[in-house]
Amino acid sequence: MSAVDVLTSLQNSFLGQAIGQSNHLVGATAQVFHILGFIFLLAAVIFINLRLLGLVLPNVPLREVSKQPIQFLWGGFFFASVSGLLMFISVPTLYYANPAFISKLVLYGLAIVFQLALYQRVLKTEHPSKVLVWVSVALSFFLWFGVGLTGRAIGYV
């Protein structure tokens, strides 16, 4: 069974049909959760990076100042991912060959790996080295902004 077959049966599944045939405002609602969740995620990333660079609250310990934003980050991630999955299920055959969507998925995967493997470890170090700070800030902006930019381009390529 090819990827297209799998995706077609996903699209024809009960959930896929239910979302696809529902009022287009259901899709719009999923989009609203997708965008609000993602804005929360990005806001947390921006805030943590500003602290890593010493531009915001330099006198508050890193671990203390990043604890809640990390929760916001994963909260936003959850809402954006679930709503994104629902949007995908309704028309997977439209998405899977879209170059912007493929780039977005790759960046999304890399961002999760980076988040767990490096970023959250750096935040537990009280005084990370300058190099580590710059690498973390640059990679997190590149990956998460990249997810946003490629995601926004899905409708236009």
């Binding site: 719009a28 804005i39 500003l50 508050v60 100042v65 934003p69 930019l149 236009y156």
Partner: protein, 164 residues
């Protein structure tokens, strides 16, 4: 309304508007930059609002958090304003007839009004400036709730531009 529509059509069909709308890379890139600008401005405002209502970084004085984030919020606003105008120019004649557009403008106005009231009145009062308490006075908290609600609605109205 018809002159507004004509003006919008004129804008969109100007060389610049057409070039933007038809460009393979420019349009999606401006859309993406608008989203990133939103997360810088509105996203950081959400964090400030959460502190105002007492749900975020309660151990840090609200005034300290506000002063350190505000310049960055303003840069984010510059970014969404510029990209927003460009997006309007390239899609002017569909945006101007969408009922979501006047709603978004009204909400933007109210959000801006609340922000100005907070910045020039509430945040300059001693009850805020020298307040290191976790929980702030009621009027500050209400302004934080209003800001959370209004900017959320601005984003929703903005997203609805593509649907209504």
């Amino acid at each position: 309304m018809s002159t507004l529509l004509e003006l919008a059509q004129g804008l969109q069909h100007s060389g610049f508007g057409t070039a933007l709308a038809e460009s393979r890379y420019a349009f999606p890139l401006i859309e993406g930059t608008h989203l990133i600008g939103l997360s810088i401005s509105v996203g950081l405002i959400f964090l400030i609002d959460l502190r105002l209502v007492g749900l975020f970084l309660r151990q840090v004085p609200a005034h300290t958090l506000l002063r350190s984030l505000l310049p960055i919020v303003l840069w984010g606003f510059a970014l969404i304003f510029i990209t927003g105008v460009l997006l309007f120019i390239s899609e002017a004649d569909t945006i101007i007839v969408s009922p979501a557009f006047p709603v978004k403008l009204v909400l933007l106005f109210l959000g801006g009004l609340n922000a100005l009231y907070f910045e020039f009145k509430l945040s300059r009062e001693p009850a805020f400036q020298s307040n290191t308490a976790a929980i702030l006075p009621d009027k500050v908290r209400y302004s934080g709730f209003a800001s959370l609600a209004l900017w959320t609605l601005v984003i929703i109205a903005g997203r609805m531009l593509a649907y209504l």
